[in-house]
Subunit: 524 residues, 2 copies
Amino acid sequence: MPVATIPPSSGTAAQIDGVSRARDRRRQRRARSTTRQGAPNIVRRIPTYDILDEESLVRIETTAERILAEVGIEFRGGDARSLELWREAGADVTGETVRFPPGLLPEVLRSAPSNFTQIARNPARSVEIGGSNVVFSPAYGSPFVMDLDRGRRYATLADFENFVKLAYSSPHLHHSGGTVVEPTDVPVNKRHLDMVYAHIRFSDRGFMGSVTAEERAEDSIEMARLLFGADRLETACAILANFNVNSPLVWDATMTRGIRAYARANQGTVIVPFILGGAMGPVTSAGAIAQAHAETLVGCALAQLERPGAPVVYGNFLSSMSLRSGSPTFGTPEPAAGSLVVGQLARRAGLPLRCSGAFTTSKLPDAQSMMESATSMQAAILCGANFILHAAGFLDGLLSMSYEKFVLDADYCGALARYCEGVSVTENDLALDAFREVGPGNHFFGCGHTMANYETAFFDAALSDNTTYEEWSEAGGEDSAGRANRAWKRMLDEYEAPPLDEAIDEALKDFIARRKRSMPDAWY
Amino acid sequence: MPVATIPPSSGTAAQIDGVSRARDRRRQRRARSTTRQGAPNIVRRIPTYDILDEESLVRIETTAERILAEVGIEFRGGDARSLELWREAGADVTGETVRFPPGLLPEVLRSAPSNFTQIARNPARSVEIGGSNVVFSPAYGSPFVMDLDRGRRYATLADFENFVKLAYSSPHLHHSGGTVVEPTDVPVNKRHLDMVYAHIRFSDRGFMGSVTAEERAEDSIEMARLLFGADRLETACAILANFNVNSPLVWDATMTRGIRAYARANQGTVIVPFILGGAMGPVTSAGAIAQAHAETLVGCALAQLERPGAPVVYGNFLSSMSLRSGSPTFGTPEPAAGSLVVGQLARRAGLPLRCSGAFTTSKLPDAQSMMESATSMQAAILCGANFILHAAGFLDGLLSMSYEKFVLDADYCGALARYCEGVSVTENDLALDAFREVGPGNHFFGCGHTMANYETAFFDAALSDNTTYEEWSEAGGEDSAGRANRAWKRMLDEYEAPPLDEAIDEALKDFIARRKRSMPDAWY
């Protein structure tokens, strides 16, 4: 009930007291940053949803162990140092194939932290990754962008900056992300510099660096050093990077060199298999999960061999295939159920968990897109994911970042944050006095308990229309994508960049200019 | 991968064997009725998601007990027999107010079955309600219908019949529902006859009867007797009926007389509070849940007092309110989390659980509608609901039944059925041999394990588009609502009524004609 419906002069003492308490609460709430809990990320109060029993989990773990011991992982591309590290650790290295005796990886992983802080340049935006924390980060890696006005087109650096600004402006996201889109108007070998700069300049949140070449990883880390100071990076995670396995069972040298670069600098690596069941792994979920577990543990362990204690995140990216089209499908039920199991495995391994995200193959921000994205996002929450990449903007099987979907997804992130609060059962929540006050057949609109609690009672998604059909119809009968179209434009219009120390800004610009001058443009 | 990609003459023995086994499986699958498990409803293989601990649950139960003992429930409208039954059972009856000593309701409810079968005229469609069973039933009660061609309009009997046909035609729904829409072109006092007849004539699934007056309940039950034989109803549940509490804490005589009519005939009653937090109950979830628990237990117990052992279902309908519009909201996070707790309470009470459904306040089958519906449907599955009403068609805060949303929701029911299968961990699922066969860096497309498993591996929603952007764009660039529009029309075109015994049909028609002649038309 809107405040306007409360006659300020006619309330009972309890009501007036209620109004004043409600106002205090509203003030407190606004003073907090992004969540009701006052944290820069969600701190979940609901348990994880564990669907498999001990015996089944052990069967999966044992299968992963046997894959690693009997089939092994190939380290392709000539990263001799990685092979050397594995040999020293006690693995069986034959050519590029590494086989892992049972027990080796858990032993190596004992040095990996179960949770860590990623610092942000605004300390109030530093996030906890691990434990009961949940961080929402934008979608990652699309070469295209879409909006309702212009359709699909190649993404540019201007789009990249827009999505950094939108993530910064959203109260429901916690992180600036990484390659939020590919800025295809910048040479491939230079775009990482502009991307990292955009994250630093247009946001004050945590961000991710480049993984496409070792020197680009080093550049990204160097920019984090310029921002935070070199010393700070020795003790804190200031930049994350997302590394993909070349599933099945291959780690490419570009990735392993990158992992080692970040680990060497004590920075965070997120290790993610990419398995479309039936293509890069078995069509059966349990097999795909066993494979993913094997591939992920190897990547996480490699970071530990390079530098024990470096933050690592156990990543999960399961998907499925359409029998009709032969295409990948996203947001379908099998990967959702599979993610719940992956969550159990990650916790048993003692590692923070990354899960994805607002998946969909739809090409529009339509019913299909949110049916699939909600399914996938719910699974990410239920499985206990700590870092949820692709939480906003994902369309078109990750080929396109959508402006409208971004703000719709951000709304859903807000709803999920509330869901993570669970059901509180204090005396106030139980409201026994309210029943005594109101009694059978009467309404609770103006009762003291309602007045004292209504402002924080319910999440109200900004883009959801809850008006009557008549009101909605008279206002133009718009769908939620149309509302989203106006919302992202308004957010960009109202955007104000957070202040950045001028000396740091200059140092970053100098570094970028110097690095760009040192190499010719490469476009592929 | 489509079958067409397999060269039939060039496969290895394992592949050929795989193809033939896959064909067998496909045949078996088609032979089954609506689920892979061969049951007419879902049998879940995943646990319920229990978010509250014992202590919190006891606090809620104790609050419900105190509401019942101290505030009580009013039985309004002059159903003297209900008051008499409560007095005989040991409740404190003062005027229309009944107060329940702690322990009375659990004692009365000991006779209620924890699960039961609702028989259908096609025995293969009889559903189990309770335990690990899940039944999806269409939305219930909208006065309007909507489709993309004609917008919103008052529902007619022709619409009613259409939705019965659509539910019958969907492989993902298990039940024909009740008042799927209000047939507003038929007099209020006669429409129940046409509705029950439509369920019987145009479907062969379980259905629900009228609750709007005792004599309409009796008519509905009489029609079930004509269909199944009077004797059969003495031992089996052949018709369900959904009764709403007049929340807060009021049971209306129309409802209590109806409950007793169905229970007297040994038929199933679903007891459902209707609480919009802040209006018919407290704005805090725990309080609303305690209230709902109290109201539901009283309705279920009343059925037991009328006839011990009559099937009853513990119903759940939580919702929230928008602070912006003051309107009810549906598919929001608080009721979703609340439903998980309600599920725990229903299981502790030993009763089958009804939960809702594909909730939304959106006026279109758009992104908002599926974001909200998926949230609500996921909660219904996670909380362990056995009978999920409003599983398809819900739009506009239940004021409108949507043709497009109906088929989109039905698709989502199919996805949830697959989700309920969880993750199977057999030797075949773990696929260790496939890893040995394929090895690092190769694809699983043609391997023996893929060939043997791919046909049943992944759920493929009929209305989801998984093609490439280019394919999708060339095919017209349609959204999922557009595909849904064509789908429901095709389903109605292809609909064929299940055969109905002519003598039964005649008996039903005679009964309806006789009953209609006996009363004047009433339009309100």
